[in-house]
């Protein structure tokens, strides 16, 4: 079935390339069939299925480039789009930094990420999973909110330089916040290509337990504390770090915190971070939006800033090979190396510190120091003398990420997948909490 579908997609993209009069042409297709079941107050309140497919054309005359998309994916629709994009490209100024559409850079990773259980899941199955979460929340006198999403998608890219990439995959994600009695909140999520791997009851139980344990939070004076970040929070932090620094484009433009630091030790030597679209523990992604096979890129190796992510535009401009991270050096499969600790050991080794389940609304505070700000959420706890002594009201942090990682003392052995980041728990020597809120 998949090969038949790929055949039709390739034929459509081939039609676009044949029809185009541009010097170079790229045709790509992004299709999806998705469903999302959202729940709140222990009821399903939004429930949807949607499908769409979009063809994108990029046309090049010399160094003039233009692009466009349409979701009218019959032959006439594609020809109309090609005509439109070509007329735009002809009117363009030359971009002297543009070298070429990409040539194939490496063989595509041999990965399989399609799971029939996900693709064929029904609204009733998703409702039953939600019911499992709600039942766990009921046990602690709480209410559950969250979302269960499933997605089946096709990606295909062909260009006149020889790129010819096709892939079909699936993903499933369940996240829940349980509001417990007396001001407690708890969170849990799971992401997998295979919905059968997601244990809704276990996630409901995890969030419900944390909601119960975080009831009646007390105020904590802001300041610097030892800090344990659970994997949910670490994933958020690593995503912010990637946003502020791992893009080759940002680096060469001088607006990455890594500028001038490649080859230097920037964080604790226990920290290694890489991007690998072929890692089966993530939602695998064999190629980028230009159809270029994803290379494993060791971004930070044993604490040393090592390498960057490139699309073809910046790579060719800088005399490098694209790493398969279009557009713009985008990280889609970020992984942090695990350690050998568990969270209980981290707590036992904390004199006075804060355990953070999750962050909320993180944003850049200062780009060149890779500082970010945000709030804690859904389970924040004070630790004293090796044990959790109380839930605390949520805190705002403003913290340089490299400084925090420099103080890494313990790293969890278990990794947890957020949508695109695979992260462990981390215990850090200090983390700066700058203010507090009322709940």
């Amino acid at each position: 079935m998949i090969e038949d579908k790929f055949g039709k997609i390739r034929a459509l993209l081939e039609l676009a390339l044949d029809y185009s009069s541009a010097d170079q042409t790229e045709a790509s297709l992004m299709g999806e069939r998705s469903a999302l079941t959202r729940f709140a107050n222990s009821s399903i309140h939004q429930n949807m299925v949607f499908e769409n497919a979009v063809v994108r054309i990029r046309a090049v005359f010399g160094k003039k480039v233009a692009s466009g998309t349409t979701n009218r994916i019959d032959e006439d629709g594609v020809r109309t789009l090609v005509d439109d994009v070509i007329s735009m490209a002809r009117l363009q100024d030359e971009n002297p930094d543009f070298v070429s559409l990409p040539k194939p850079a490496r063989p595509l990773p041999d990965v399989e990420g399609f799971y029939a259980a996900t693709a064929e899941s029904t609204p009733e199955q998703r409702a039953e999973a939600v019911r499992s979460v709600v039942e766990e929340a009921d046990r602690v006198g709480g209410t559950a909110a969250g979302a269960l999403s499933v997605r089946t998608y096709e990606r295909a890219v062909k260009n006149t330089m020889g790129v010819d990439s096709c892939y079909m995959g699936t993903s499933a994600h369940l996240a829940t916040v349980v509001t417990g009695p007396d001001g407690g909140f708890g969170y849990a999520h799971a992401t997998s290509g295979n919905i059968a791997d997601i244990d809704a009851s276990a996630l409901g139980a995890e969030a419900s337990y944390r909601a119960y344990e975080s009831r009646n939070p007390v105020g904590l004076k802001p300041g610097e504390y030892e800090c344990i970040l659970m994997p949910y929070a670490v994933a958020d932090m690593l995503g912010a770090l990637a946003w502020m620094g791992f893009s080759g484009k940002a680096y060469h433009e001088g607006r990455s915190f890594l500028c001038g630091k490649l080859g230097e030790k920037i964080v604790n030597e226990a920290v290694s971070i890489w991007d690998d679209g072929a890692d089966k523990r993530t939602i695998v992604s064999p190629f980028d939006s230009e159809g270029i096979g994803k290379e494993r890129v060791d971004l930070i190796r044993n604490g040393v800033a090592n390498a960057l992510l490139y699309d073809s535009y910046t790579a060719y401009k800088e005399g490098k090979e694209p790493t398969g991270h279009a557009p713009g050096g985008f990280s889609g499969n970020l992984i942090m190396a695990p350690g050998d600790a568990d969270v209980e050991q981290m707590i036992a080794n904390t004199k006075r510190g804060v355990l953070v389940t999750r962050f909320h609304y993180t944003n850049i505070a200062h780009l060149m120091t890779a500082s970010f700000t945000g709030m804690t959420r859904d389970g924040t706890f004070l630790i004293e003398d090796g044990r959790i002594i109380s839930p605390v009201k949520n805190l705002r942090f403003t913290q340089s990420i490299p400084e925090a990682l420099q103080g890494t003392e313990m790293i969890g052995r278990d990794l947890k997948l957020d949508v695109s980041v695979l992260a462990p728990a981390i215990k850090m020597k200090k983390f700066r909490f700058s203010s507090a809120t009322e709940f």
């Binding site: 709140a40 309140h45 299925v49 949607f50 466009g68 009218r72 709030m375 403003t398």
Partner: protein
């Protein structure tokens, strides 16, 4: 449009099929959305993109629960199939429900409505658009300290049909246009930027190309570049509690985050609690809670001409309205949908919008506006012996009930003895929402009041990006916590 002549027939068929399958309520939306983006980056056209999408979505209530399905194939056969699928999804929703959905009553409307504009931006030659951006870029880069520039414009055209099982049939058309410039100066590991007229791609309006020309990007470029370069040598913003005057576009973000989101009644009822969060403005506070000082009057107004959050009818067929949100400092109203309004025994305030045909409508901001006061800008500065004037958005974060916020601005200036003084870089201010608005003791008048267009408000799952507006004039706040990084 593809459905021309057949749209009503298509909608009738979809609604009929939904009812046949057991829907007690159904609506269908057909949308064609065209978009064009032009980005000139440091003198080169880096992004030139035209995007078009077309399709329909069907929303139904079955057994007291919601279902939604959509397709890009606007045909009779697919319309009936998608109606059946929406019903199936709704029946699954009813497996996990605590109560039945109730909708507030609505007046049923029929008609065709087109928002006025002078020049269709999709008819303006590409050379003219690129030429305008190049002219602005040239001026920006005449300043040698500027290392990167971003000059961009973007346009949308929305053509939408809404029909409901209650008899509504509404066609709407709207054009939106906007543009902006940004200069980035880099030296010795420091990166500073200035934008005009507002950051994140510029200012936008429900208007044609005439709005882009009115922004005077070329005329603003020299000062924008100069300030970006000056920031490299500026001292860091001092830390401490200060009297703070916020420039209008920064105040637009302040309103957006600390007022616009917490008045969304779906958030208040916990419907977004797992993702974006809830709200401190719970229903027990309605008409009694002091949100701000007596000077603070805030409205949600979807009827403002040119507003990015303006429309004729929302995506439930409810007519656009002006709603009082804060009256003389007292919290007074919400952004509502038919479902949430029914919970309070109200009629909907008309705030339901979806960002595409394959998304369900959710409560979105319209134009959330701080009404003008009576200071001129010069008077407000002159009336401030000691303080800080901060301008243009750089960073933002707020807690999940919209209380504790921290915002960074692109630039600030000292206010000394009633005059603007030296420039500061990396300003950050923070606070708690009611205390902050409670400290407001001066708002500029109508001459300084401007309706800003914000085309990037994110909410919901899957994420939907709404186009909203905020009317503001510069305003003054007391004892605001500030800091600045070196």
């Amino acid at each position: 449009m593809e459905y021309s002549g057949d749209a009503r027939q298509f909608c009738d068929r979809v609604l009929e099929r939904a009812r046949e399958c057991g829907a007690s309520y159904a609506d269908v939306r057909i949308l064609r959305r065209d978009n064009e983006e032009v980005l000139l980056r440091t003198g080169k056209v880096e992004h030139l993109d035209r995007n078009s999408t077309y399709g329909f979505g069907v929303r139904v209530i079955v057994d007291g629960a919601w279902g939604f399905a959509s397709s890009p194939d606007v045909s009779m056969e697919t319309g009936a199939r998608i109606a059946e699928e929406a019903v199936k999804v709704a029946r699954a929703s009813s497996i996990v429900k605590r109560k039945n959905i109730r909708l507030a009553d609505v007046d049923v409307h029929e008609g065709k409505f087109t928002m006025k504009y002078d020049v269709d931006p999709f008819d303006v030659p590409l050379e003219d658009k690129i030429g305008l951006l190049k002219d602005a870029d040239t001026v920006l880069r005449q300043n040698e300290g500027v290392k990167l520039t971003d000059c961009s414009m973007e346009f949308w055209k929305f053509r939408e049909v809404f029909a409901s099982s209650e008899g509504a049939y509404i066609e709407q058309e709207k054009v939106e246009s906007g543009a902006g410039i940004m200069a980035t100066a880099i030296r010795d590991g420091d990166v500073q930027r200035r934008s005009a007229p507002i950051t994140s791609g510029g200012d936008y309006a429900a208007a044609g190309y005439e709005f882009v020309e009115s922004l005077k990007l070329v005329e603003q470029a020299e000062q924008t570049a100069k300030e970006a370069v000056e920031l490299l040598s500026a001292p860091a913003c001092p830390s401490g509690d200060f009297t703070l005057i916020l420039e209008g576009s920064m105040l637009a973000l302040q309103i957006h985050e600390s007022c616009g989101h917490p008045i969304e009644l779906d958030r208040v009822f916990g419907m977004e609690s797992s993702f974006a969060g809830t709200s401190f403005l719970t229903t027990d506070k309605l008409c009694s809670f002091r949100y701000g000082s007596e000077l603070v009057n805030i409205t949600a107004d979807a009827t403002l001409p040119g507003g990015l959050g303006s429309f004729f009818f929302d995506d439930e067929g409810v007519q656009a309205q002006r709603v009082d949100i804060v009256k003389e400092g007292i919290f007074s109203g919400y952004l509502t949908s038919r479902e949430t309004a029914a919970e309070l025994g109200w009629r909907s305030g008309g705030a339901m919008r979806a960002d595409n045909w394959d998304r369900i409508p959710i409560i979105r901001m319209t134009n959330i506006n701080l009404l003008p006061g009576d200071y001129s800008f010069d008077e407000l500065i002159a009336d401030t012996p000691d303080g800080i004037y901060a301008a243009d958005v750089k960073s933002w974060s707020i807690d999940d009930k919209r209380l504790n916020f921290q915002f960074g601005t692109e630039v600030a200036w000292e206010i000394k003895d009633g005059s603007l003084g030296k420039m500061y870089k990396n300003p950050i201010y923070s606070g708690m929402t009611p205390e902050f608005w409670g400290s407001c003791d001066g708002i500029c008048d109508e001459d300084d009041w401007r309706l800003w267009g914000v085309p990037n408000c994110g909410k919901g799952e899957p994420m939907q990006v709404a186009h909203v507006g905020h009317g503001t004039a510069p305003a003054r706040f007391r004892k605001v916590r500030m800091e600045g990084a070196k």
